[in-house]
């Protein structure tokens, strides 16, 4: 599964994207965030306030309880500031 990061989420984690193998039991976006936070302090820093970072699955915005099943690319990013 491919993970991609943008803006200050990318800067805090220190990479723009990565491939990960998820362990069993990671079902939702929230599960994935909690698992990532256990991988190192850069992840813990990026997700320090779970309510702030947004997620998208395969280019579509999703809520934290969205299932990861079948996802190819999951993105994490701050609230959008375009326009």
């Amino acid at each position: 599964m491919k993970l991609v990061y943008f803006a200050w989420v990318r800067e805090r984690i220190g990479k723009a994207d990565e491939e990960v193998e998820l362990p069993a039991g990671i079902v939702t976006v929230t599960d994935l965030v909690r698992w990532l936070k256990g991988r190192g302090e850069e992840y813990a820093y990026a997700f320090e306030n779970e309510g702030v970072v947004r997620a998208a699955i395969d280019h579509t915005h999703v809520k934290p309880d969205a299932p990861l099943d079948g996802a190819r690319e999951i993105a994490f990013f701050p609230p959008m500031t375009g326009g």
């Binding site: 943008f6 998208a56 579509t60 701050p78 609230p79 959008m80 500031t81 375009g82």
Partner: protein
């Protein structure tokens, strides 16, 4: 009516987009354009850097455009969003709506801007006049409120 959505580094031209929507047509009564520009914030900013999520930016802009087209009787819709480094006075985003009547064109353009602000995956970072990179721009609660009025 198929909305046109573009994500590009290059500048755009509002008149060209108006002409493309109206050329050879006699059923359009109203065209509204919105152009968003980079401000220098009282001389503080040298530029804005716009990061985006390629692929999703186009997809989300097309979803928002499709919602506007379903909601108002539009005869044309164009949305263009730039990425990269943009200096004060330069345009960032353009929305053009065409309709038989003015209220639909106005409302659809305002809706598109409110939704693009809160849903299109773009992020602005400030570059300051002293040459340093400033902070990422924070999302504004007033933008969420503006988008909420269409719900």
């Amino acid at each position: 009516m198929t909305p046109q959505v573009r994500v590009q580094a290059e500048p755009f031209d509002a008149a060209t987009e108006i002409a493309a929507l109206t050329e050879g047509r006699a059923d359009i009564g109203a065209v509204v354009t919105f152009t968003g520009f980079c401000r220098d914030e009282g001389g503080r900013l040298a530029a804005l850097e716009l990061e985006h999520y390629p692929g999703m930016a186009e997809a989300e802009m097309m979803r928002v455009a499709g919602e506007a087209a379903a909601r108002w009787p539009l005869t044309g819709l164009v949305a263009v969003h730039r990425f990269g480094t943009i200096t004060p006075g330069q345009p960032i985003v353009l929305v053009v709506t065409a309709s038989g009547h003015r209220a639909a064109a106005f409302d659809a353009a305002a809706f598109l801007m409110d939704y693009l602000k809160t849903r299109a995956p773009f992020w602005k970072r400030e570059h300051l006049v002293d040459g340093t990179a400033g902070p990422w721009v924070e999302a504004k609660s007033e933008d969420d409120a503006a988008a909420g009025r269409w719900a």
